[in-house]
Every structure is written in structure tokens, then in C-alpha cells.
Symmetry: D2
Subunit: 302 residues, 4 copies
């Protein structure tokens, strides 16, 4: 049988940056200190292709996924990102002609949380992981990884709150009384999705629950599946006592990283992004930034 | 060439309820009194198939769409729903073996609106239309159509508002003063999508802008693309002065139909449904009902 | 605190058919004979609402999901559909004012399969389940459930195959030789998604792997994650030796049910539907039918 | 009224790379030589934010969209990308504190095409445009834009074709006869989505129909809405006479650019990417590359 992939390409003898599989779904079992988590993961796995080769042996990508991921059902791995690193490394082993391998993974993740102990329930989050393996000229392989999460929470707008305060003061002059200075005012509030991703040396592990905690602390309030009447009021109050623009969410999140993640190196990349699905508009509002932990740790200007 | 479609099916000599095309996109030009609208429509077009025939001649469906829809670029039609009726009728002409034809269409629709005359901008809505043609035993064809729309607006929760009022009264006892009786209190508010669909005799035309107006009047507030600071405050105030559960949105919408659409027959079917993308939960809340205009017009019990 | 939900609605004193939660995600652990499966399920849970009550106590729906679903992490259930039945039953217990409860669930499901024993890997499918509980006038509750699955496979078009045979015969007259009578000819082939759902008495359990097997047998060929060169050829050959219209997929699937599911009652409803994401068009082609097992078991006409 | 946006941020006094609106839908009218096209566009519009300012004045983004885009209903623009450039430029005018502005736009686009003149119909494509404006230290603004499209077509696999040829030769030895050397063999074929995007100086206009033509020429075959029986056979034959890996699609597309776009400068960036929705797998296969036109024009190695 002809090995069509190994033939020379007809036209366009170009190296290609990336050839791979995408949208492949796999169950992955992760061993956490206290329990096993089964994640349903969407993978993208790709390598580059040299200019003298017509095709990439893509069945190998599916085989690697079966070997690394499917086997976790009986032998769990430490984390989604460590599985990504193993896959990236193995891609370079089996695609001898490739010099770079990329793995991207996202998975739904359930955490048992609640506004109080007895109202805990599974809340859903998204895990994000990437690995990139490079075959250096001397033949050894270097690996970088990204680890992060997305959490859905709530934001209340600080600007509309002040506008409403001014409007209501005209209608209810008694609100000018100093006793009402801290009274939270109506505003628009909405579903907010925020992401935090770290770009790391391959060996570094980050407990994803800490990433989620950092995100939820940066929103006006986390949200919960089970809220009885009084709890709903509490979440609404908390959100209106911490009104946030998308700008505030990203800045507060980034500003919290040095204290929350003191063990990470200065060279660590930090990406934060957020989307508010505005209740008063049909469109979304978003903000994003990327910098290094070293830049975050430097004292800020006046 | 063999006509494989007209052959007898190998096994399973069953009549099939529906065989057709779906996800087919087409530009449709509609002539409104004051302007032309170009809609990008997603169609589903199908007919039934008798038990003695292997396949439906699906290329005829694509030809009908080209003839009825593509030609509107030069000869606009009156409405999306009248195009659906024409397509349904023609499906029965060209599929002589079929007894039923179904057409479903949805399209984005832009209306120029604003919180004030000078802040008008295009707001996006969804149009919904269906047509069903039946070949009666005596050979003549009867047609029914559905016409409707979906609008995105805002809801504020009446329950969390009362809970927050009670909580804040404890913290700010001065709020018990009668002057604050009507002071709108903080609550959770969110993006809400509401649909209204009428099921009609084929000949009846309904101005879709009236459908959208009915929906927006049933939400806590409509939303707008352009809101300067003071406008944002106004929308937030309006929404909190009209707090609504999803239940209220559906009931208020249905209750408004007899006055808003006095010309429609008692036999007209009315479907209303709504989804609130809750700001305090990661999930949605929804409500739905269907009844006839006759039922809506009957005096309600105590 | 005011119980706003229990108050009378302001306008539109209408009973509502359905008020509930949708898009709520939960992990559900199912105990199979040989292993545990963790499913990530999307639920919709709703009840009706009488005309004299403003709102439905929706936090109860979230509590029931936490009690029935979250606890399966330590106490697995038999099946997704039995969890739906438990939820539907409990909805009527805790919404004393409701007479109907609906539960809809869909979940990704992984089965370890392969074109051969050593090339097995996890393939992904979708599980579908529904439960409906009705409180009868005498107070007792009746339950109905739906159980089904969707599988992605491949279809090859029988009509284009015959057209290509005719075209190629003109170009290669030697193909008229009887030795080539069974030679499979080129055609268009594509990704196909097919669903089979049974509507059942509440107590009936159906092994979902049998549902998936029935679907895959009705497509031109199942598809697999791992296919080495020779295996790819085998799948392509199999598909072209079983060319199928969407009409054939639905009919062959329905025709196979009496033999595959002899234990199910005549009153069982059977819904089959299929979508081919046509390779030669930008749109999809679909077919659907619904009938009872009793109707399927009756001898078909000539 | 307090101008909350202009206040200093509470914590995290960081410059933010991007703050903006996303998912905003607008109708845009483009004047082509022979006709007007109404596009329904999804925009993302953003600017950066200096460290001393709490919020970005996002209502200005919506106002700019209304002024630049909404007005095209009466005064059409030349192209989607020229509208993006105008918006990017205006963003820097009205956000005096910003130094960078980004605009991203995608829109569905209909072209009347067919396998023959009398079978023409509207086929749908996606237009892609971006603009980036930078305020240089000397105050003047530089602009870059991206212009591209995505087209859905068909690919047939060259490898499975050779495998099937080998398998069928064993079963039908008569196929070894030289007369059958060019006989196209069965393979898997599927829906393929391919993108081509140019990164350009702001002033450069590219006729988008030429971009679509380049993409469709790189796939195994374009696809059409209307195909009668003989036409279907023709498309299937064409596709199997031009079997393509995703690697071939990207390389053939890139290799065709120097001849198809001789007027573009060497510094022009060229991005090509493709996704095949494999019929024999449940996952997709993709390939991507980026380089400059100058690199493409250099003679390739042996």
C-alpha cells in the first residue's frame, strides 16, 4: 500500500505551522487529594509539518490520546495540564519529522460549594490547559504549559449605581441624611464570565481550586445553584456593596495574584479576561490584559 | 440513469412523516411600507414520503427556495411568513407524492429604536415564521402559518427586592419612614429573552413590529444599544419599578394580547415563552404557556 | 419577610403550563454492571403553576437536583432516566400546587469501541432522557419516561453512486464487464447524526448500549477515533457497500426495532430522526418519524 | 452626577490592553459595482485604558457604531473592512486617553453561484475584517487592517483512496488493466471550511469575491445549493479527481496567492487555515499556516 502521507507535496512545498485533530472529546480521570474527578475534555492536538512531506500521520494523534487519556479511567492522572504535557511530549516522539507539538484542552469542572455548609451543591466551572513541546536543535525537548479556569459570577455596575443615587436623591430628598450614606443603590447587574490563565514552566502544578477562588473574589459576587429567599438577598447585597466594571474585575484579579500565588516565578505569564453579559444592553462588555508576575510584583506608580 | 429515489425501499416500507433540508441560509428581501429589509434567513423545508418510495426529490426543495427566496432580491415579498406560505404551497406542487409540507424560518431583524429620538440605533430581534400545507383528500390544499418574534430585554426580580428591603430596613431603620415607601430597592436583574408566536389562518398578516412592542412592554424594561449616563439610570429605575418574575412576563404578555390584537380571530393560537439568564445563578429560569385568543378573551375567574 | 411567590398575580390570572430551570449542569454517577460512569448532564426541570399564585418556588427545583443528582457521587443511580423519574416525582411532592412535572436531560456518554479489539478507544455519544409526572384527580401520581441516544456515524449517498457509475461507464466502457457488477462506486459521504428515543411506562429500563447499537447498524457505517490506513479503507468500503439516504436510515432503524427490542410493549412510542451534514451541500438533509411499536409489528403492506 | 469612569481605580493601577463591546450586531450596507449588499455584522470594538482611569467610556463605542454603521442604510460604504477602519480611527478620536483601538467584524455574505448558469442560487460565505489603529508618540494615527473570508466546500481523502484501490484490486483483479489507471476510487469525503485572511496597510482594498474564488479552488470541489442528479455526479467526480488532505488545501491555497494577488506588497501577511469535518471520524482535522507574501514569492527549495 502506498504511504501517501510520506510522499512529497504536489505544489506549495511549504512547512506548515500546525496540522492536527480538533473537537475530539475524551473522558479523563483526575486524582485529587480527596476524590477522583471525571472530566469530559475537548482536545486539540497538532504538530508542525516539514516542507518535504505531504501529510501528517494523524492516526498517531488519536492513538496517543487513547493511550494517555483513555487509560486514566483505570490509572488517574494528577491534573488536566499534566496529561496535556504527556501528550505533547509523545506527539514529538511519534512524529519524528515534527519540531513543535501543541495541545489545547478545555473541560467542565464541578466544585461542591454553597452560600452556607448545608446549601452546598455542585457548581460548574471550565478548566483550561495547554502544552507546547519544542524539539530544540540539539534534540532535547522543552515544554511550556498554561493552566487556568473560567468562572461565572455576577457584576453590579458602579456607574449606574451613582446615577441612580443622584436621581433618587432628587425624588426622595430624605436620602441625603447621613444615615443613608452607605445605603446600596439600585444598579444593573449581570452574569459575568472571567478567566485567569498562567503560562508556566512544564513542571509547575497549580491547584485549580485556587485559580477559581481568585476569580470569584474579583467579581461583585459569586453565584450559587441553591439560594433560599434570605440567601438571594444576601448575594444581591454583597454584589451591590462590591460594584465592579469589567475593568475593575481584571485589575482586582491581577492585583490579587502576587499575594495569592507567592510561589510562582517572576517569569510566569498571567492572562486575565472577563465578559459581562450586560442586562441593560443586548451586547456584552469585556476587558483583558496580559503581563508577567514580575511586572505585577513591581511597585506601581502613584 | 436510474431514478433511485423513485424505487421501492428495501426494508421498512413505512410512510415517513418528514424528509427535508435544514440549516439552509438565504437572503430574503421584504418590502415594508417605508423601507426594504434584507433578512438572512435560516430555513427548514420538508414534506412527508409515502411508503412505496425510497427517497424524496430534495433538489426540488432547493430549487423552490431559489425561485421563491432568491428572486426577492429584485421582487421583494410582503413578509417572511408569506414567503413561507408560498414555499409550502409549491412543495406540494412539486412533490406530487406528498400530502404535507412544512416550512420553518428564523431571521435576525433590525429595528431603529432608542431611549430618545436622538439616541436611536439598530436593535436586533429574531423573527419566527412557519407554514404548513396539507393536501386534503379532495385534492385542494389548506395552509396554516405561525408568525412571531423574540426580543431581548431586562427583568428585575420582585422577590429579591422585597428581601433586600427587609434586610436594609434592619440596617437603616430610617427607611421605615413613609416617604421611602415607594423607594425602589436593589434586586438581581438580568438579560431576558421572550417569544410571542401566533398560529393563524394562512391569509392573516400581522405587523411584526407590533409583536415586538407587545413583548418589550411585558419585560421589566426594554434595552438599548446607546445609553448615556443618565439614560442608564433611567432604564435601571424603570426596570426596578416594574420587577417581574418569568411568570409575570408570560402572564402580562398574554393578558395584553386581547387589547393589542383585537382583529385576530378567537381560534388564533397564542404561544408565549420567556427565559431569564439569571445574574445570581449559573442557570436560566423559564416559563411558557399556550392557549387560544378565545380563551384569553373569556373573563377570568376571581 | 413577604412571600411574594405565594401572592396573587397582578394581571393575567392564568394557569401556566410550565415554569422551571433550564441549562443547569450537574455531574451524575451511574452504576453499570461493569463500571461507574460519570455523566455531565444538562437538566431542565419544570412544573405547572395554578392561576392564583404569582410564582413557582424555583429554589426547590435546585434543592431536588442537589439531593437526587449530587448524591450520586457517593450513591450511584441505575440510569439517567431513573434519576429523571425520581426528580419528576419529587417535584410534585414539593410543589404541592402543581399537577404536572417535566424533567429533560441530555448527557455526553463515552463507550469504549473500536474497529478491532486492539484499536478500541472512547467514542462519544449523547444520552437523552425525559420524565413526566402527572398528579391525577384522585391524588396519585403517574409517570412516563423517554429514553434514547444520538450517535454520529457515516452515510454514503445511493443516488450519486448510481449517477457516478453511469458517468464512469461512459468513460471506462470496460466497467460494463460483469466482474465489476458489485464494484462500489464513488459517491458523496458525510457525517450523520441519528437519534432513537423510546416513550415508555416509568418502570421500564432499556440498556442504552443497545439503543446505540441499533442506531449504528442503521447508518452506512459507524465511525471510530482510531483508524490505521487499512482500517480507513475498510470503513470506506463498508459505507459504500451500504449506501443510505436519510430516508433509509430512519426506515432501517425503525424496521430493526421489533427484533432488537422484543420485550417492549406494543404501546411503546418510537421516535427516530437523522441529520446528514451533506458533503456536497452547505446545508443538512434530515428525516424523522414517530409511531408505536405495535404499528411497527403489524405486517406491512405489499 | 459623578463621573465614575474618570476616577482613579481603587486597586490594581494597571494599564489594560483592551476594554470594549463584543457581540454587538448591526446591519451594514455595502455598495458593490453591480448591487448593494446588506450584511448582518457581529462587531467587537475596544480600546486600551491607561492606569490612572477607572473605566472606559463604552457608550462612545456604541455611538460610533451607530454613526458609522447605521448610516450605511442610507449611505452605503465600500466594504466591511473600510467601515472597520473608520470605526478604529474614530475610537481614538473619542477615547482621548487611549493609544490603541481594535475592531473585529464577521458577517454572512451571499454570492449567486451555481454549477451552471441556470442553476445559480445564493451560496453563503463568511466575511472577516479587522482594523487596528495606533496613536504614535507624535500624535498621528497609523492603521492596519485584515481582510478575509471563509468558504465551505468539500474534500476527498487521497490516502483512503489509495487504500481502497489496493483493497479493490485484490477483490477485482481486472482493475489492474491499464484502462482503469485513472479510474477514481471511493474514499471518504466531507464538509470542509477554509479561511484566507490578508494583513494589509490600511488603504489597500481587496475584492472579497477573489478571496472566495481562491479558497474554493483549493478545496477538492466547491459545493452548491442546487444540484440535479447529473450535477451531483459531476461534483463527486471532480472532488475525487482532486483528492486533498487538509495539508494540501492550505499549501495549494498559499501557493496560488502570488499569481492570484500580484498587486499585493511583499510585506502583506497571509493566514490560511482549514477544517475538515471528517466523515469517518467524530472529530475534525485541521491545518494552518501564516507567512508573508514575500516569503511565498521566494523560489522554494528542491
Amino acid at each position: 500500500m502506498r504511504d501517501v502521507h510520506a510522499e512529497a507535496p504536489a505544489h506549495g512545498r511549504l512547512r506548515l505551522r500546525s496540522v492536527g485533530l480538533s473537537g475530539i472529546r475524551k473522558p479523563l480521570v483526575v486524582q485529587r487529594p480527596d476524590r477522583q474527578n471525571t472530566l469530559a475534555v475537548t482536545f486539540r492536538v497538532a504538530v508542525d509539518l516539514p516542507s518535504d512531506r505531504k501529510g501528517s500521520d494523524l492516526s498517531r494523534n488519536a492513538e496517543i490520546l487513547a493511550e494517555v487519556v483513555d487509560t486514566t479511567v483505570t490509572r488517574p492522572v494528577d491534573s488536566l495540564e499534566s496529561a496535556c504535557s504527556s501528550i505533547a511530549r509523545e506527539l514529538l516522539v511519534r512524529h519524528a519529522y515534527a519540531t513543535e507539538a501543541y495541545v489545547e484542552a478545555s473541560a467542565e469542572y464541578f466544585l461542591r460549594k454553597g452560600i452556607s455548609e448545608e446549601k452546598r451543591s455542585y457548581e460548574d466551572y471550565t478548566l483550561l490547559a495547554e502544552a507546547r513541546a519544542v524539539r530544540e536543535p540539539d534534540g532535547h525537548v522543552t515544554l511550556r504549559r498554561s493552566v487556568g479556569a473560567e468562572a461565572v459570577g455576577m457584576t453590579a455596575c458602579p456607574c449606574a449605581m451613582e446615577t441612580c443615587r443622584a436621581k433618587l436623591l432628587q425624588e426622595y430628598p430624605g436620602l441625603a441624611d447621613p444615615q443613608f450614606e452607605t445605603l446600596p443603590m439600585i444598579s444593573h447587574n449581570q452574569r459575568n464570565r472571567t478567566r485567569l490563565v498562567f503560562e508556566l514552566e512544564d513542571a509547575v502544578e497549580i491547584e485549580v481550586d485556587r485559580v477559581i477562588a481568585a476569580i470569584e473574589a474579583s467579581q461583585s459576587s459569586p453565584t450559587y445553584a441553591i439560594l433560599k429567599r434570605g440567601d438571594e438577598g444576601q448575594v444581591v447585597l454583597d454584589a451591590h456593596r462590591h460594584p465592579k466594571f469589567v475593568e475593575d474585575v481584571v485589575r482586582d484579579l491581577l492585583a490579587s495574584i502576587p499575594d495569592r500565588f507567592p510561589e510562582l516565578a517572576d517569569a510566569t505569564g498571567v492572562r486575565a479576561s472577563t465578559v459581562s453579559e450586560e442586562s441593560i444592553h443586548k451586547y456584552n462588555v469585556d476587558a483583558a490584559h496580559r503581563l508577567t508576575l514580575g511586572e505585577l510584583r513591581r511597585p506601581l506608580g502613584p
